[in-house]
């Protein structure tokens, strides 16, 4: 039986080519994502391990990864006390700059939209392995207060060479500083993962980042010989000033890994979702291929049964065939995935996130997981056809026509039941009885897709019949034959179409969500936002307050309103707090439900959801904690309806500063002075900050457009990732058509014999293909439309407006016609090249 299975595989190499390709593509996607993920983690792990000392003294109570700046500092005496501990071999005071940016040789901002810019003083601190944390590559370390050493790649990107004068944006009143590049350096751990490293002398750092105070942000500790990090930490705690804590390097690494891991995990999950879709589409293709192969081989299988093969033996022969196919495809896929990971890494490098090439290796777990997914996936998909093969009655060997499978009604029942389950889930989601509303609706979408995938052929019959009529009108008898062929085994057509349906459903859902999100942004900016201009940085990171100071002096500016978003802890949970200028209610149109938005020191405006959750009313008191253990006591002065424009809690911006948060601005909104010319003021604002390219001044339309740009970027990324699923689905159409052509050789020969021309034959097959593709796309768009609209409804807190991009959906349908034509090329040419006599002689 093994031999029989292998012979079948060899004999039908060409017929299984598409299946092989599609499994390989699916596995390659998976392997690529896993390898990329491994490379990413490895890169960060190396940097973390290589840059963390035995122990660290840092501000207490801070979410260490938020990078939020605090005003808390240590004195030189604190550092001296730590250095004097017998458990410490050395203590290195760090001075860290927040809101520092590198301006390139051409005056443009370098980086700023992905990896961070890290600015700090260079010390001789050593990592857990005893290696120096920083390694000099060229030139020398910064010595004087105007010396700068940076990482070689940043220097390269910015267009600076050693000896050049480098421009930085710094959080001083001057905003801009000019330093001399004296050397290049890198983390010992290997690369910077795209981050920009700016190293200055301790004195220089204190001048640039701390306004000249002789103080430190944190301290790196090296353990004395024979002292463990734990002992070092215990000793350090005795001499620490309040508001600071000491932790071991290992703990610091673990915390950083956890938080970076969460981010990387989200990225990987995002990619894995699309790998999963591709694999599922692939599974459908396999299911379909083997169903067709088994149907074509019915007579042969019946002979085997008549000669004494048991059901299990016949089924097994099909499964063996599938497994061998899967093994070969998986191997190809894993190798392809490795290449794909390199491609992804190159793409990310272009975006500024660098992954060490050496970290992009195929790990055992990647290979094993891919093999498991590829092989079990294929075998599971081939299981149903294999069972059907086992059920072929031996008497079929003697009959001319194979018995056709029944069970359409059963499938329809299942599909109907699933449809109902989906409706229930969607209702549960929309009424919000329990759990995440969007998860319920998303689940409903998945169930509907499954329902359609099982019943595609039956549900699609009316549409296929309609298409046949349309084709007949348009193309005459050729069109009729093509349409009829799509209709005659509608289950097969449906199975082929359902692969495309899945891709199209997801694409449509996403397009509706993206369009609605864009519309919501428009509405939000339009209705809730009264500013004439908005000043933000490209990645919405905070920037020095001096920028706002400069803008306030521009002629024609009526009012400058600043906002800083800070992170704090409320009842042990992290919470976002907006610090706002007093006149912020002139910028944001808030729906005040109680009290007043005018805040004095110690007062807060809270949104209605937060107030309800904590049982607050106007006058209620509560406390929030900021890094450095600063506690802010607040009273509720007003309650506003929850909206997108404010954080759960808003406080006067000066209260943030009082709570030890280093003042920076997250956004600056500007109102024109009465009678001022908007265009002229815009130009003057641009000119005022021309030398600090870290922020841009945008009017409302530009601001909305910038957000659209970001939404669309993500949308195109998702389309790109879904393209693979669509390509696999199109391969599926090629596959089915190819198999059908083989099956209908005799019939095609007859058609040719009675005078159908080659061109007509090709047109016939192309139309069959187009009908299949249109069926899949149409059903997909319908499910996607329903899911997208309902999902938007479930997410209406975040996506406040609905927009259905009708044109885009029509383009998808048109695209599917093109895909159908494309898919038919090879099978159509093969069919039209058939030798008429031979075709008729084929049994």
């Amino acid at each position: 039986m093994l031999r029989y299975a292998l012979r079948n595989l060899l004999a039908r190499k060409a017929r299984l080519g598409m299946s092989l390709l599609s499994i390989a593509l699916g596995v390659a996607f998976l392997a690529g994502v896993l390898t990329f993920d491994h490379g990413l983690r490895h890169t960060f792990d190396n940097i973390l391990d290589g840059s963390t000392p035995d122990a660290v003294v840092r501000v207490a109570g801070a979410d260490q990864t938020s990078g939020q700046a605090t005003t808390a500092t240590l004195t030189p005496e604190d550092v001296a006390r730590l250095a004097a501990l017998p458990e410490a071999a050395a203590a290195y005071g760090n001075v860290v700059g927040h809101g520092v940016s590198l301006v390139g040789h051409d005056g443009r901002l370098v980086g700023g939209n992905g990896a961070p810019t890290l600015a700090f003083n260079r010390t001789a601190s050593r990592n857990l392995l005893g290696e120096p944390i920083m390694q000099l590559q060229q030139g020398h370390w910064p010595q004087g207060p105007r010396d700068l050493t940076m990482d070689a790649r940043a220097a390269d990107r910015a267009g600076y060479r050693i000896g050049d004068e480098v421009t930085l944006v710094v959080p001083t009143s001057a905003l801009v500083a000019h330093l001399r590049l004296v050397g290049t350096a890198t983390f010992t751990g290997g690369g910077t993962a795209g981050a920009i490293l700016l190293l200055v002398s301790t004195q220089g750092a204190q001048q640039l980042f701390l306004g000249g105070r002789d103080a430190y942000s944190s301290v790196d500790l090296a353990a004395a010989a024979g002292t463990s990090p734990d002992q070092l930490v215990t000793a350090a705690r005795r001499v620490l000033p309040s508001g600071f804590e000491a932790v071991t390097g290992k703990q610091a690494v673990d915390e950083a890994q956890d938080s970076i891991g969460a981010v990387l995990g989200a990225v990987t999950t995002f990619f894995l979702v699309f790998a999963g879709i591709a694999v599922i589409v692939c599974g459908l293709l396999i299911l379909n291929t083997f169903t067709i192969l088994v149907a074509q081989r019915t007579r042969e299988l019946a002979v085997l049964r008549a000669l004494g093969a048991s059901r299990a033996q016949v089924s097994r022969s099909v499964l063996i065939e599938a497994s061998v196919l899967a093994c070969v495809a998986t191997m190809l896929g894993v190798v392809g995935g490795w290449g794909l990971a390199r491609g992804l890494a190159a793409a990310f490098a272009a975006l500024g996130l660098e992954i060490a090439g050496s970290a992009l290796t195929l790990t055992t777990s990647t290979v094993v997981l891919c093999a498991v997914v590829g092989i079990t996936g294929t075998v599971v998909a081939a299981y149903v056809p294999a069972r059907r093969a086992g059920r072929v009655p031996p008497v079929a060997a003697m009959q001319v026509t194979a018995p056709t499978g029944a069970g359409t009604r059963q499938r329809l029942l299942i599909a109907g039941a699933l449809l109902a389950v989906g409706v229930l889930a969607a209702t549960a989601g929309l009424t919000g009885v329990w759990g995440h509303r969007s998860l319920w609706v998303g689940g409903a979408g998945v169930v509907w897709i499954v329902a359609l995938a099982t019943s595609c052929g039956t549900v699609g019959r009316p549409l296929l019949a309609l298409l046949r009529e349309a084709f007949t009108r348009l193309f005459g008898v050729t069109g009729q034959l093509g349409g009829q062929n799509a209709l005659r085994d509608s289950r097969r057509t449906g199975a082929t179409a359902s692969a495309l349906m899945i891709g199209m459903a997801v694409v449509s859902t996403i397009s509706i969500l993206a369009a609605s999100l864009n519309r919501s942004v428009d509405d939000l900016v339009d209705q809730n936002f009264a500013a004439d201009f908005i000043v933000t940085s490209p990645a919405y990171t905070p920037f020095p307050t001096s920028i706002g100071d400069r803008l306030a002096t521009v002629e024609g500016v009526g009012l400058v309103v600043r906002q800083q978003v800070a992170q704090a802890t409320l009842d042990g949970r992290s919470v976002m707090i907006d610090g706002n200028d007093a006149s912020f209610d002139r910028i944001y149109r808030l729906d005040i439900l109680a009290g007043t938005p005018r805040l004095d020191a110690g007062q807060a405006l809270v949104d209605s959801d937060t107030a309800r959750a904590h049982g607050w009313r106007v006058g209620s008191g509560f406390t929030v904690q900021f890094p450095g253990l600063h506690v802010l006591r607040l009273h509720v002065a007003g309650i506003a309806r929850t909206s997108q424009v404010t954080a759960p809690i808003s406080v006067p911006i000066d209260d943030l500063a009082a709570a030890g948060v280093a003042r920076q601005d997250s956004a600056v909104s500007i109102l024109l002075a009465p009678g001022a010319d908007a265009h002229a003021v815009h130009q003057r604002l641009d000119a005022a900050i021309a030398d600090v390219p870290v922020v841009s001044v945008q009017d409302k339309a530009q601001y909305a457009a910038a957000i659209h740009g970001q939404v669309n970027q993500l949308l195109y990324l998702i389309y790109g990732l879904l393209a693979l699923a669509v390509i696999i689905a199109v391969l599926g159409i090629v596959n089915t058509l190819g198999l059908s052509v083989v099956e209908r050789t005799r019939e095609l020969g007859l058609l040719r014999a009675v005078g159908v021309s080659r061109v007509q034959l090709r047109a016939m097959i192309t139309l069959e293909s187009v009908a299949t593709a249109l069926l899949g796309a149409a059903l997909g768009v319908v499910v996607g439309l329903a899911t997208g609209v309902l999902l938007r409804q479930a997410l209406s807190d975040d996506i406040t407006s609905l927009d259905v991009p009708v044109w885009q959906l029509l383009v998808f349908l048109a695209g599917s016609v093109a895909a159908g034509v494309l898919a038919a090329t090879v099978p159509a040419v093969r069919a039209s090249r058939l030798d008429v006599l031979q075709a008729i002689a084929t049994e």
């Binding site: 002979v303 008549a306 000669l307 031996p394 008497v395 060997a397 003697m398």
Partner: protein, 263 residues
């Protein structure tokens, strides 16, 4: 030696029954569209003999064979093969029975196109996980003149050669009974003659039991016994017939068929 032994065995057990049908009825479909393909057939196939079934197209010959071979479940009546009653057998037991007790030769050859002649011949044994007896293999391959065709694929063989491969496949497992449904239906007269001689000699020399359906009076004349079917009933049963005999019986059958059909 072997030949003589088999002949003796065949002689001694002339009345031993290889397969038996009693009150066999087979109805296809139901209601108005139903077809009564077999209408109460009683037949005992003696072991070591060559039995031929004849009759007009649609008279139920194939159905009878399928029921006897356990490929089709009768509507009523019983079938016994090699002493086992088929009615009570599970699919698994039926499969085992086909594998070990029954051989088939089909009109459409039904060789597996992807396997070589050798692999096709060995297929039933490999399905059972058995190896052929080398002496028996040599004897059959020699007798069927297939030595130099064993590594060819079915597509590379003539119709006659393909049917010889199918016969070898049926004979190799020494089944209790071989069923052949119009084995020469797709062959020219010369190849037909070869196949008939072959089946005849397998009965004479190896004591094989063969049941064959044919339309060809010449082919039928190779047999020991001819059973005539009309409208699902046995209407004649004759032994040691000649071609002339068969022709005259067939001629007599025509009006009989017309009568039965009319009533």
């Amino acid at each position: 030696m072997i030949d003589r032994d088999s002949e003796q065995t065949a002689g001694q057990t002339a009345r031993q029954i290889a397969a038996q049908a009693q009150g066999l009825v087979k109805v296809y479909g139901n209601g108005a569209a139903s077809v009564r393909a077999l209408d109460g057939v009683d037949l005992a196939v003696e072991a070591g003999r060559f039995t031929v079934v004849m009759g007009a197209s649609g008279s139920g010959k194939s159905t009878l064979m399928h029921c006897l071979a356990g490929l089709e479940k009768p509507t009523a009546g019983t079938v016994t093969v090699a002493g086992e009653s088929l009615g009570s057998l599970s699919d698994k037991r039926l499969t085992m029975l086909r594998r070990d007790r029954v051989g088939f030769v089909f009109q459409a050859f039904n060789l597996i196109p992807t396997l070589t002649a050798r692999e096709n011949i060995l297929l039933p044994l490999s399905l059972a996980g058995r190896r052929p007896d080398p002496a028996w293999w040599d004897l059959i391959i020699g007798r069927l003149r297939l030595e130099d065709r064993l590594d060819h694929r079915p597509g590379q063989l003539s119709g006659g050669q393909q049917q010889r491969v199918a016969c070898a496949r049926a004979l190799l497992g020494r089944p209790t009974i071989i069923f052949a449904d119009e084995p020469t239906g797709n062959l020219d007269s010369r190849s037909s003659g070869e196949i008939m001689t072959l089946l005849r000699s397998s009965v004479d020399d190896f004591g094989q039991t063969v049941v064959m359906v044919t339309h060809d009076p010449v082919g039928a004349s190779y047999s020991d016994r001819v059973v005539f079917l009309a409208d699902g009933r046995i209407v004649e049963d004759a032994t040691d017939v000649t071609v002339a005999d068969i022709l005259s019986r067939l001629a007599r059958l025509q009006p009989a068929t017309a009568e039965t059909g009319g009533s």
